[in-house]
Amino acid sequence: MNADAKKHPAAFGWFGVLAVAVFSIVWLACYSADASWVWGENSISDFGISDTDAASFFKYGCAIAGVLLATFGIGEIVNSKQTGYVFSGVMTVLTGICLLVVGFVTLDYNENLHDFFAILAAVFAAVTVISWAAQSWKCGREIPAGVSVILFCAVLACMFAYNLEKFEVIALVLALIWYGLYSASTIAYNMKE
């Protein structure tokens, strides 16, 4: 069997779809396991220090989603020719690694380290969006790039309007939508007929 990664660029896109699906399912599982979590008052990271099963869900869910995201990023690096797409692949790998660390380094283990990697993951994700949108624009794919611009503006608006806990939830939802778009675009533009 020939397992040359360069021959299957669309397949790597499915890792991104899986990462989004896993994180979404884990988040819902955490929410149903921990009834004390309140939107607007608690952050996602509070699931990691929960007394319920939500703590395990959060830990392993972040780890699995992080690994899947990093694998997707590696696929982008290996299969893309344009600088912007390669750079967004690198940023995706780093986002995945930070997400993995965030899952294991919970708030009660080391709050400063947890916050550091959480913020770093957000920064890497933002840079991924900018890089991918700019390269897509340059390649004549204005609609996917435009959707990225709209989502980015929405996140920026929420950053100024809400407290951290509310903003984090909204930003994560929009980030999941964007990574779904990113993965779907990778699959769609690399499908061979």
Binding site: E142, A145, G146, V149, I150, C153, A154, A157
Partner: protein
């Protein structure tokens, strides 16, 4: 190139978007210091829609790619403002609909040609 119906529609929708934004500014006006940011964002949306209307005019100031980018930025500010509760939801729905129509009009081959060739009214 003569101005086609699509280009005229783009100009009209841009103007309507700007006027709706000004109506929103009046309807939801609050004379408080804390509301300055909200009022400023309403004005920003009005300015952006009027600028997009101008892009469909005879003396357009933008290339096609810049027009598309400004369409998405405008739509992003409207949607972002709605999600962040700066804007009234129904006002934002109307403005978002106008923004989407402008994206569709801007993405036509007629718009691409209009913004790349010498134009006559």
């Amino acid at each position: 190139m003569k101005m086609s119906k699509t280009i005229k529609a783009g100009c009209v929708f841009g103007l309507i978007g700007g006027i709706v934004a000004m109506i929103g500014l009046v309807l939801f006006f609050e004379a408080e210091e804390s509301a300055v940011v909200t009022m400023a964002v309403y004005m920003l949306v009005a300015v952006l829609f009027f600028a997009i209307a101008g892009a469909f005019g005879k003396h357009s100031q933008w290339s096609w790619k810049v027009l598309m980018f400004m369409d998405f930025v405008t739509l992003g500010i409207v949607i972002g403002g709605a999600v962040a509760e700066y804007f009234d939801v129904w006002w934002a729905v109307v403005e978002a609909a106008i923004g989407v129509i402008l994206v569709v009009i801007s993405n036509t081959s007629g718009s691409r040609t209009w913004l790349s060739e010498p134009r006559t009214a």
